[in-house]
C-alpha cells in the first residue's frame, strides 16, 4: 500500500488532513501504523487567537467550522512540535498560511530545514480568515504568486491545497503547477452559513464557516477529478471521506492519495479503518497494489 506523492514516499495512501489532527500529539487512539502522513494544523508566522465561539455548527451530514486558524505561530511550532515529529515514522507536512505572498515566503524560510518538517502544504483557501476580500485561491495569479514565494524558500515537497469555490478549478490547478507545486490537495472546505432561529443571526460568531464532512464528498470528488485531469503532478483527494469506499472514489477518480478530516472527530481511528478497508478492497478484487486499481481519468 506504499505510495509516492512526487518525491515523497509514504507507507500508505491515507493522511490526516490539516486542522483535524492538531499537531499529531493530541489523540492517542489512532493505530498509527496506518497513517501515511500528517498535515499539521494551519499555522501563521505569528501566534493567532482564533475566532470567538461558537466556532462550529452541525449541518446535514456535515459541519461548519470557523476556528480562525488559531495557532501558536512559527517559533512555538519549531520549539514544541517539530522535535517530536522528527522521531515519528511518517512524514509531517506543515500547513502554511499568510496574509500576503511575502508572509507565506517568510514563514517558509523560518520553517525550512527544521528537523521534523518533511514538507509544506500551502493553504491558499482557508475561508475562515478575513483577508480583506478575495482569497488567494480564487485568483490564478495570486495563487501562483504565493506558490512561487514559497517555492523560492524551500526544496522540500510543496503541496498546494485548492479552494473549492471557483468556477474552474483546472485554471488554478495549472497556475500553481506552473509556479512549482509538487502536488495538489483538493479540496478545502466550502463556505457556508447556518442561522440560529432563536437569535435570528448566524450560529457561528464569525457568521460563515467552512463546510466539511460527507455532505461535500460528491463535490470534492468532482473537483479533485477536475484537478487531476488538468495537471501532471499528483493530486491528493480530500472531502467527506469516512470509509474506505469513499477514499476509493477519489483514488479511482484520479487521486494518488487522500486525506481524512472530519471523520476523525467521529471515529478517532477513522484513518486506520480507511487504510485497512482499502487494503481489503484491493485484496478482494485481486489487485496486487494500488497501482493496479483502475482509474477513471480521461484526458481531454
Amino acid at each position: 500500500m506504499s505510495v509516492a506523492v512526487g518525491t515523497m514516499q509514504m507507507r500508505g495512501p491515507v493522511l490526516a488532513a490539516s486542522g483535524t489532527f492538531g499537531y499529531g500529539t493530541e489523540v492517542p487512539l489512532l493505530e498509527r501504523r496506518a497513517l501515511g502522513g500528517m498535515v499539521s494544523k494551519g499555522i501563521f508566522l505569528r501566534p493567532r487567537e482564533g475566532t470567538t465561539p461558537p466556532r462550529i455548527a452541525e449541518t446535514p451530514s456535515g459541519m461548519l467550522n470557523a476556528i480562525g486558524l488559531q495557532g501558536p505561530g512559527a517559533d512555538a511550532l519549531v520549539r514544541d512540535y517539530a522535535p517530536q515529529w522528527a522521531g515519528w515514522d511518517f512524514p509531517v507536512l506543515v500547513n502554511i498560511n499568510g496574509e500576503s505572498a511575502s508572509e507565506y515566503g517568510e514563514l517558509t524560510a523560518r520553517l525550512d530545514g527544521v528537523p521534523g518538517i518533511a514538507g509544506f502544504e500551502i493553504n491558499i483557501s482557508c475561508p475562515n480568515v478575513e483577508q480583506g476580500g478575495l482569497y488567494f485561491g480564487n485568483d490564478p495569479r495570486a495563487a501562483a504568486a504565493v506558490t512561487e514565494a514559497v517555492r523560492r524558500r524551500t526544496k522540500l515537497p510543496l503541496w498546494v491545497k485548492l479552494t473549492p469555490m471557483v468556477s474552474d478549478i483546472g485554471v488554478i490547478a495549472r497556475a500553481v503547477e506552473s509556479a512549482g507545486a509538487d502536488a495538489l490537495c483538493a479540496i478545502n472546505t466550502f463556505v457556508g452559513m447556518s442561522i440560529d432561529l432563536n437569535a435570528f443571526k448566524p450560529r457561528l460568531s464569525f457568521r460563515t464557516g467552512g463546510l466539511s464532512g460527507p455532505a461535500i464528498r460528491p463535490l470534492a470528488v468532482h473537483l479533485a477529478h477536475q484537478a487531476a485531469r488538468a495537471v501532471r503532478i499528483p493530486v491528493l483527494g480530500i472531502g467527506g471521506i469516512t470509509r474506505a469506499e469513499d477514499a476509493l472514489e477519489f483514488l479511482v477518480a484520479g487521486c494518488t492519495a487522500v486525506q481524512v478530516g472530519t471523520a476523525t472527530f467521529v471515529n478517532p481511528n477513522a484513518i486506520a479503518d480507511v487504510h485497512d478497508g482499502i487494503a481489503a478492497f484491493l485484496e478482494g478484487r485481486g489487485f496486487k497494489s494500488l497501482a493496479d486499481l483502475p482509474r477513471y481519468l480521461p484526458r481531454d
Binding site: P28, L29, P53, S61, G62, P268
Partner: protein, 260 residues
Amino acid sequence: MGRGALSGMFLIDAPLTARREVARGMFVISMHAPEIATAVRAGQFVNLGWSGGPLLRRPFSVYRVEGEHIEIVLKAVGAGTAELLTMQRGERLSCVGPLGHGYDFASRARSAVLISGGLGVAPMPLAARDARAAGLRVVWVHGARRAEELCHEADGDEVIWATDDGSLGTRGTAVSVAPDAEVVLACGPNRMLGAVAERWPDAQVAVETYMGCGTGVCLGCAVPLRRGGYDRACKEGPVYRAADVDWTALPSHLSYAVTV
C-alpha cells in the same frame, strides 16, 4: 469490547444496559464500559456516537459509576438526545472517554459545596464520591424551576433543594441559596456559572460548549479566558477556575440547561 488506548482514553462499543427516570423528562442511562468506569474522574465526560445518529458525537458528563458500568443523565433537548432516549437495552453506543480535565480535590480543605442547576446535576454524584474520598464533607445544592424537575438522587449527602417557584426547598436559585465552603464546585447553564464566578472566584465550574471532536484536535470548543486567548473545553476543561473564564464572551445559549 472496544479498542484500548494510551493515556487513559478509550474507544468502546458499549451496550446500553439500563434506564431510569430521575426527574420529569430526565433520564439516567447505563452503559457497560469497564475501562472508562475504572479511569473516569469527577467532571470528565464521554463522547457518544451511535449508528443512525447525527454526524458528530454528543458529549455527556459521567454521572455515576456502578462496577463496570457508567451512567449519564440527560433530557431530550434536540434530535440526538431524543434518539438516545428511544434506544433499547442491548443497543450499542460508541463511547470515547474519559475526556477532559475534571474537578481537583488536591487541596487540604475540609468542606465542599456542590452547586448544580437542572441538568448541571450531571457531574455531581461523581464529584461527591471523589470529594468524600479526599476527606471533604459534602453539601449538595440542587436547583430547578419546579419540584418535579429536581433530580432526587443524592447518595446520602446533605442536600439543599432550591426551586424558582418554591414548590420544594428554598425559593431561589441554587447559587443564591448555597452556603459558603472551602471548595466550591458548580455545573449548570453558563450564565449560572457566571453568577458563581462573582461570588466565588476560586470555584471550579464545568462549562459547556459545542464540541467537534472532544479530543483536543479541532479547537471548536474554545473557552474564552480572562487573560486573553482560548482554552479547549474538551482538554484543559470542561472544569475551570471560575474567575479564569471570560463569561461575557462565552456563549450562554446552549441548551444543556434549557430547563434551569
